[in-house]
């Protein structure tokens, strides 16, 4: 609430600042604008920036640190018996306070100290918001007045504004880097915690996967086991089936569209593939689970085969269909990059169209096509919804496409959906899997993008 008010006030102040700066600059030279170093609107922007930017920075800083800060203050006021625990119980305590503060009731009867802490938390929060409003307004008005006082015909307003904008642009372009760093750090950090409990070698090369931790120590399989080989095998099986569908169909479709189809036909076919590419994965998942899987099972049963109702074949096939447009549009790009002069050379020798394509165009485009397939594989490995909805959950180590297998992404999704105990190896194992997934797909992408770039340079 206070934040909204602050934002509105800030917006108003910047508009006022702009007008103020502009008119004052004009007034400072008595209307002879040529005497100004920068045009009046830059003076306006100059004041507006001073009014808006510092307050906005404060706002961003507060938004990022408020929760933590307030929580630290609350925790420091609690008696030692509550605070002096290990990291896990401290996390639980934090969650309890937050839940109470947000009005979420849990089954447990809350400790009165914790209730008090929650109230304190809310109070501090409100106090923080109000002080933010007041301080923000003060800073904004102060900045506005300061900048207004500096308006002068010789003020290099344009250079200052442009330098600020330039810095802002650089920061925006760094967001991508920060995202990558964020991904790497969050995966690494949680995965390291996981590997502190589970031996990385056992994780990477173990053949038994059952992450369910028993509630009581005396139950069977209380330790859970985290051998991820069945997941990797399942992922590869489904990816393999998907590629067996997507590569021939996608490649031939690309060839047909770029070399054979008339322009009229192309205007019809291109949208079909684009629609196929635009359908959300959850829709493919629904189709795989409710239409394809029963169909595959019925066909298999009528042939006397025993087919699981969550067969890898159904999920893989639908994933393949999803990837067809991906393969075809990438192949289309690389096939079109093969210079016409090579085709002409082949036709000039009396080759037919298919001979030209098979013997000249495809070999010439091979690096690009290989890269396209690598990108498609990376896409298939990382695809989540189809396998979550249509593939199984039990980790079978099998190469039979009619059996149910589970995949890396399925496990990540199921491990992290629903009620989770933080810090349990079960939850953390999802980050271990995520790290493997990230490393594998990143490697595939890097290599593929590099190959594509080299290939483009060759024919440019």
């Amino acid at each position: 609430m206070q934040l909204t008010v602050l934002l509105i006030i800030l917006a108003l102040l910047t508009v006022i600042g702009y007008q103020m700066g502009r008119s004052r600059a004009v007034a400072s030279v008595g209307g002879r604008i040529v005497e100004l170093h920068s045009v009046p609107s830059y003076h306006g922007f100059y004041v507006a920036l001073w009014a808006g930017l510092p307050a906005l920075l404060l706002f961003a800083f507060w938004g990022a640190s408020e929760g933590w800060l307030v929580m630290q203050m609350v925790l420091s006021g609690l008696p030692d018996r509550l605070v002096n625990g290990d990291a896990q119980s401290l996390g639980l305590l934090r969650a309890d306070i937050l839940n109470l503060a947000h009005g979420v009731t849990t089954g447990r009867e809350p400790d009165p100290e914790v209730v008090a802490a929650a109230e304190r938390y809310l109070r501090l929060h409100a106090l923080g918001d109000w002080s933010l409003l007041v301080i923000g307004c003060c800073i904004a008005i102060g900045g506005l007045l300061y900048a207004r006082g500096r308006i002068d015909p010789d003020l290099r307003a344009r250079n200052r504004v442009e330098r600020t904008v330039n810095i802002a642009l650089v920061i925006c372009s760094l967001v991508a880097i920060l995202t990558t760093i964020g991904i790497v750090l969050s995966l690494l950090f949680e995965a390291i915690r996981f590997f502190a409990v589970v031996n990385p070698l056992e994780f990477l090369f173990g053949t038994h996967w059952s992450p369910q931790m028993a509630m009581r120590a005396d139950q069977v399989g209380s330790s859970g086991s985290f051998g991820a080989i069945p997941l990797f095998a399942g992922t590869l099986l489904i990816t393999g089936i998907a590629m067996a569908v997507a590569v021939p169909v996608g490649l031939m479709a690309a060839i047909f569209m770029s070399e054979y189809a008339s322009p009229g036909l192309r205007t019809w076919l291109k949208p079909i593939l684009e629609v196929l590419a635009g359908i959300p994965t959850v829709v493919y998942g629904f189709f795989a689970a409710l239409t394809m899987a029963p169909f595959v099972r019925d066909v298999g049963n009528s042939l006397g085969l025993s087919v699981s109702s969550e067969s890898a074949l159904a999920a893989g096939f639908v994933m393949g269909v999803m990837i067809i447009p991906f393969v075809s549009s990438l192949s289309d790009d690389v096939i079109n990059a093969v210079p016409q002069s090579l085709r002409d050379g082949s036709y000039g020798l009396g080759a037919t169209k298919s001979e030209t394509i098979r013997l000249v165009v495809l070999p010439a485009a091979l690096p690009g096509i290989v890269a396209a397939i690598m990108l498609a594989v990376s896409r298939a490995i990382g695809e989540t919804m189809i396998v979550t909805m249509a593939a199984g959950l039990t980790a079978n180590l099998t190469a039979n496409p009619l059996d149910a297998v589970t995949t890396v992404t399925t496990q990540i999704a199921t491990l992290l959906v629903g009620d989770q105990e933080f810090d349990s190896p079960k939850t953390l194992s999802a980050f271990g899997l995520g790290l493997v997934l990230f490393v594998v797909t990143l490697t595939l992408n890097m290599v593929a993008l590099r190959v594509v770039q080299k290939y483009r340079e060759k024919y440019d």
Partner: protein
């Protein structure tokens, strides 16, 4: 015209035979190509066909007519369940014994008393009168009316008992069952009861998420693209940013979900299931798409425009904001809309940050618990009831309609503002 009498090897019979074989191979290759395109088209038709055929019935819903007597005392006791039941028994006079009547209770949606209550609250003057109202039937009655529960199946394997079917027949006979447009689907939040479930909550959740995504990714994406394309020096540092953006565009979406879980929920302590967090994650995910599309659009503006502007003394920033950016805007906009459409259909990252929860209320703010349309589809797809399968398909159709709308807008913009230099 002098005619050469000698024939070359290419006019020999042997060559002709070979040529026929070569043309046969040519035809086979061409057919393989057509087959590939055919398979792709067929799969699209099968996919859409199966969803439409499963989903179109969800747009209709069976209703039962009741003559409710709004007894003053019962209204005061808020005993609407009794009112509704009495009216129902009156509609089926044949049902007299307790057991039959009890099974009749299941004919109505469990939401029927609330519907009546809302009606009375809206118009208290009707208390004490007898009103004709149409209330939603239970989903199984609805499925029966649509023919998905078959009468000729033995009772033990059927979800509806013979008693109920007899009662339904009686209701049909006196015109007390009708099929109307299913407005609930568009105006309600989620529910455990299929006939009371709607996707409005998910639509609002998606809209809130997209607003956050757009507010963050569009300005940042365009700014980054402008910097990289117009101002950045070509050095190893900008190369790194470029490689990084290209790679980020190919990172699996579930990884972004893990990032959101670890950083936004774990580190910054933002609330779970909130559109705010969903929007943040989606913004990071669509950012590379927007940057890449914007750079392509900026690249398409010919250098002569920049030279002309710089030539009359504009600063580099003025050149970009006054000349280059407006010319590139249609392309940027198209890329942005396509990025947003992708974000709208994305599910996996939202699962990670807890936007997969049973939420009845329609979210009112960025930090309320919410789901999104694709997540709603995912959850409904998991429900065993036949009526939910139908609604899942309908929800998919609605989601696809939004996507078609967005992509159509992108195509329209591209066509309208397309400019060849």
């Amino acid at each position: 015209m002098s005619v050469a009498v000698t024939k070359s090897r290419y006019q020999s019979e042997e060559f002709s035979a070979r040529l026929r074989r070569r043309y046969a191979a040519e035809r086979r290759f061409r057919i393989a190509g057509m087959l590939a395109v055919g398979i792709a088209s067929l799969m699209l038709v099968v996919l859409l066909g199966s969803i439409v055929s499963k989903g179109y019935t969800a747009f209709w819903q069976a209703q039962i007519r009741l003559e409710v007597t709004l007894d003053k005392q019962q209204v005061e006791e808020r005993n609407y369940t009794a009112i509704v039941r009495q009216a129902l028994y009156a509609q089926v006079p044949a049902a007299t014994d307790r057991a039959t009547r009890r099974s009749l209770n299941d004919l109505l949606s469990s939401g029927a008393p609330y519907e009546l209550e809302a009606m009375v609250n809206a118009n208290p003057s009707i208390v004490g009168t007898t009103q004709t109202v149409w209330v939603r039937a239970d989903d199984e009655i609805d499925q029966f009316m649509k023919g998905f529960i078959r009468r000729d199946v033995p009772e033990s394997e059927r979800r509806l008992s013979d008693v109920k079917i007899t009662a339904i027949d009686a209701l049909v006979a006196n015109g007390s069952i009708r099929s109307t447009f299913n407005t609930t689907l568009f105006t309600a939040g989620d529910s455990r009861e299929p006939e009371q479930a709607g996707i409005l909550g998910a639509v609002v959740g998606s809209a809130l998420t997209l607003v956050v995504t757009m507010l963050l990714s569009v300005p940042i994406g365009i700014a980054a693209a402008v910097y990289l394309e117009e101002f950045a020096p070509k050095n190893r540092w900008t190369d790194l940013i470029e490689v990084n953006i290209n790679n980020l565009a190919a990172v699996p979406s579930i990884i972004f979900g893990l990032l959101g879980l670890a950083v936004f929920l774990g580190f910054f302590g933002l609330p779970r299931s909130a559109p705010l967090v969903g929007g943040l994650v989606m913004a990071l995910m669509t950012l590379p798409v927007i940057i890449i599309a914007s750079r392509v659009a900026l690249k398409a503006v010919p250098p002569s425009i920049r030279e002309a502007a710089l030539g009359v003394g504009a600063s580099p920033l003025q050149t970009v904001t006054h000349h280059v950016l407006p010319l590139a805007l249609p392309g940027i906009l198209t890329g942005t809309i396509i990025g947003m459409a992708r974000a709208l259909g994305e599910t996996a990252p939202l699962l990670m940050i807890g936007m997969v929860a049973f939420i009845v209320d329609i979210p009112g703010g960025l930090t309320d618990s919410a789901t999104a349309m694709p997540v709603q589809i995912y959850m409904w797809a998991d429900s065993p009831e036949r009526a939910f399968t139908e609604r899942t398909s309908a929800a998919i159709l609605i989601l696809l309609a939004f996507l078609i709308l967005m992509n159509g807008l992108a195509v329209f913009l591209r066509k309208k503002f397309e400019r060849r230099w």
